[in-house]
């Protein structure tokens, strides 16, 4: 078993990853609460945005223009999908709604493979100016990009919580989460509220895509699936409802995933982290429900 000192460096990398998973998880939860759709295309949209940003940088465009393009791309594509298919899917069950977004993910995945083929072994990558700057804390090197990743996760979580609680649009989203039809009869423009949720989710997909392309890899498989798996697990632990729990779960998933790295006996299984943690959480939560029901019946 590695010593505590050997684990320490992975706290930094794990927190940074966890921050981005949190950001993604919050995006998924917000969209689900407003529309009932689990957006499985979240990672793919971010991935394609990141690839577009990469191509722009290669073409000589300023980095910041490329990054913003990635975020805007995420917002536009997700909003476009939501506006086009959202109304038709609104009355369908969660299975149909979710699988339809998986279809979008696979289409985007295919487009990325076509547009950015790996022939010749070349490897696209994204770098931020903040990668090479940073500071040292108790001997641990921390880059500004890692700080930004965690800070974004925290900021998006807090901001979303405040937004949902205190803004008019947020209140409408919460109302829709409770009952879509009653909300509509009260005069809430549900199409507009849904559009806002799709747009917000897409913007977060773009942010997560560009950040993970730098911190993890500009790889379509990684960005399309790994991000969604980890953030979906966090959202599941948050019961697709609680933003603070989703945030906490995402941070734990990121931390545990990276803290396993120095344990050579199990490090090759670290990608199972989201599954294992989600399974444990679901088991514990369902056990709680069973006990509650038993007490009620008793």
């Amino acid at each position: 078993m590695p010593s505590w000192a050997e684990f320490q460096p992975y706290i930094v990398t794990g927190l940074a990853l966890g921050g981005l998973y949190a950001l993604s998880g919050v995006g998924l939860v917000v969209l689900y609460r407003a529309t009932g759709v689990l957006n499985l295309a979240f990672g793919a949209v971010g991935a394609m945005g990141a690839f577009i940003a990469y191509s722009m940088v290669q073409a000589g465009d300023p980095g910041w223009v490329a990054w913003i393009t990635c975020i805007v791309f995420g917002g536009v594509v997700t909003l476009g999908y939501g506006m086009l298919f959202g109304p038709a899917l609104a009355g369908r069950g969660p299975l149909v709604q979710s699988i339809s977004t998986l279809g979008l993910a696979l289409v985007i995945f295919g487009v990325i493979d076509l547009a950015w083929p790996t022939t010749g072994g070349q490897s696209p990558s994204i770098s931020f100016p903040t990668d090479n700057g940073g500071f040292t804390v108790v001997g641990l090197q921390v880059s500004w990009t890692q700080v930004i990743a965690l800070a974004l996760g925290v900021a998006i979580t807090v901001g979303t919580g405040v937004f949902l609680r205190f803004s008019k649009l947020g209140t409408a989203m919460r109302a829709m989460a409770n009952d879509r039809e009653i909300t509509a009869t009260l005069g809430v423009p549900i199409r507009r509220v849904e559009a806002a949720a799709w747009l917000g989710c897409g913007l977060l997909a773009g942010i997560a895509g560009i950040m993970l392309a730098d911190l993890s890899a500009l790889d379509d498989t990684t960005l399309t699936f790994t991000v969604v798996i980890s953030s979906l697990a966090a959202a599941l632990i948050g019961q697709l409802r609680s933003i603070p729990v989703t945030f906490a779960a995402a941070i734990v998933i990121g931390l545990v995933h990276d803290l396993i790295t120095p344990i050579t006996q199990i490090s090759n299984y670290q990608d199972m982290t989201p599954f294992v943690l989600a399974a444990i959480a679901l088991l514990v939560m369902s056990r709680g429900q069973v006990m509650t029901r038993s007490r009620e019946e008793g």
Partner: protein, 463 residues
């Protein structure tokens, strides 16, 4: 009343989410499998390319393509000699530049007299790591296309799938090997060293420079134990401890991996990587972002890292810090006649060679060069037996691309390329390392190398 997000619906959504986790994981892991395969392959053969670098080799251009045939400018019109090849080509893993470059070379030969007046009819096939597909392709090439030789094979699993078949029909294969059977069976010989011996070379280099500890990392794919056995034997023969790691690919946590490797190697040690270029680049860039590159004495790579785009992506911080095993002659700034012929063929016939100058195209060129040399030695009919016999007679042939003369021979196993270069980044290009970068024999501390030399001897340096 429509209550989509409450009660049973939420439970249903949770179930969907849980199922989606599994589905996505399935997609992810199947994609990983293909990338995994890529990692298996690339260590063996890749070191892909710099598409823009086609002028970097023989810019002088004084050798025209007429040098590839015996009758310059005279197209071959005789009965064709059918030659086949099988390459892996799938998303994330594309070795088809090898057969494409071999095809370009054969086209050049055909336009300049052919093989004693006979054109080479080339049948390049691609596969997607499906064993039944690969077996069917081999049979189709022999029974339908009537090929008399296989020149240009490079596949993740083709050697293991078809080795017995090639033996049964008597075909000797000349290719760029990846899996162990490409080096351990009687009917296949490669122009490259493959992942194990290339990793041997990388470890051997850092040991020669004084590294006192090795962290050896490669993709988590079938065969990693076989590959790691080589570097382990080389390090242990020098009394240096070596720690093996494997990573699931595609890599999702490069920062953590870079940190782990640097910690394991220590300040006087070396990190040695055996990955495809994209995965190796991820780890190296992560090390750079975390300012870890100077926390170890050396970084080294098996052949795949030997590609200019990697040097360009890494930047000057890695000049003289990263050392890469190179199985074939570095072409940057190379003005030898062979390099010039390579450049001329690539320009005139290589429109299908999507990666341009690089180890893939170099391997294809070298395979076709040796194959043409063997075919030209045949005086009778061009049959499977005649072509195989001609290949087996190739001995100490100077390709201009390898450190050693190339010998196919009639051996039970073939590791004809067992002498390497070492290159290091130099402002966006890879150049021969100034210290100990020249042709060096792979250590016979690797028992496989020792066994091969016991039966085939040690080929001298070319030229």
């Amino acid at each position: 009343m429509n209550r989509p997000f409450h009660g049973r619906t939420r439970t249903a959504a949770a179930v969907v989410a849980a199922v989606a986790l599994g589905v996505l994981a399935g997609c992810s892991s199947s994609s990983s499998t293909s990338s995994t395969s890529a990692s298996t392959s690339a260590p063996a053969s890749s070191a892909a390319s710099s598409p823009a670098a086609s002028s970097s080799s023989a810019s002088a251009g004084t050798v025209s393509t007429s040098a590839c045939g015996t009758k310059p400018g005279v197209a071959a019109t005789g009965t064709p000699i059918n030659i086949g090849a099988i390459n892996t080509k799938q998303p994330g893993t594309d070795f088809s530049d090898i057969e494409n470059m071999a095809g370009a070379y054969f086209a050049c030969v055909n336009a300049n007299g052919g093989i004693n007046g006979h054109p080479i009819k080339f049948f390049p096939e691609t596969e997607q790591t499906n064993p039944s597909q690969i077996a069917a392709l081999a049979k189709q090439l022999v029974t339908t296309d009537h090929v008399v030789g296989m020149m240009g094979n490079s596949s993740i699993i083709e050697c293991s799938v078809d080795a017995a078949y090639w033996k049964s029909v008597g075909i000797d294969v000349l290719g760029a090997g990846i899996d162990p059977e490409c080096y351990s069976t009687p009917n296949t010989a490669s122009v490259n060293m493959g992942p194990r011996y290339s990793s041997d070379g990388a470890v051997q280099y850092v040991l020669a420079q004084g590294a006192n500890k090795i962290a050896f990392d490669q993709s988590n794919v079938p065969g990693t134990t076989y590959i790691a056995a080589g570097p382990n034997a080389v390090a242990k023969a020098k009394g240096v401890s070596i720690q093996d790691y494997t990573e699931n690919v595609p890599i999702t946590s490069a920062n953590a991996i870079a940190t782990k490797l640097v910690t394991a190697a220590g300040p006087s040690g070396a990190v040695v990587l055996n990955f495809t270029p994209p995965e190796a680049l991820l780890i190296l860039q992560a090390a750079q972002k975390l300012n870890l590159e100077d926390r170890v004495k050396y970084w080294a790579c098996s052949t795949p890292c030997n590609t200019d785009f990697l040097a360009t992506s890494l930047g000057p911080k890695w000049n003289g810090k990263l050392f890469v095993n190179a199985e074939l002659t570095p072409l940057d700034g190379n003005t030898s006649p062979t390099a010039q012929l390579f450049d001329a063929i690539l320009k005139q016939y290589g429109s299908d060679v999507s990666g341009g100058v690089g180890s893939f195209s170099e391997m294809g060129f070298t395979i076709a060069e040796i194959g043409t040399h063997a075919l030209e030695s045949i005086t009778g009919p061009y049959t499977i037996a005649a072509v195989s016999a001609a290949l087996e007679k190739v001995s100490d042939y100077n390709t201009g691309m390898l450190c050693q003369g190339y010998t196919y021979g009639s051996y039970s196993e073939h590791i004809p390329n067992n002498m390497d270069y070492t290159v290091t980044p130099d402002n966006g290009k890879f150049v021969e390392a100034s210290t100990g970068g020249g042709c060096t024999l792979i250590s016979a501390s690797d028992p496989q190398i020792a066994a091969y030399r016991a039966i085939a001897g040690t080929a001298p340096m070319a030229g």
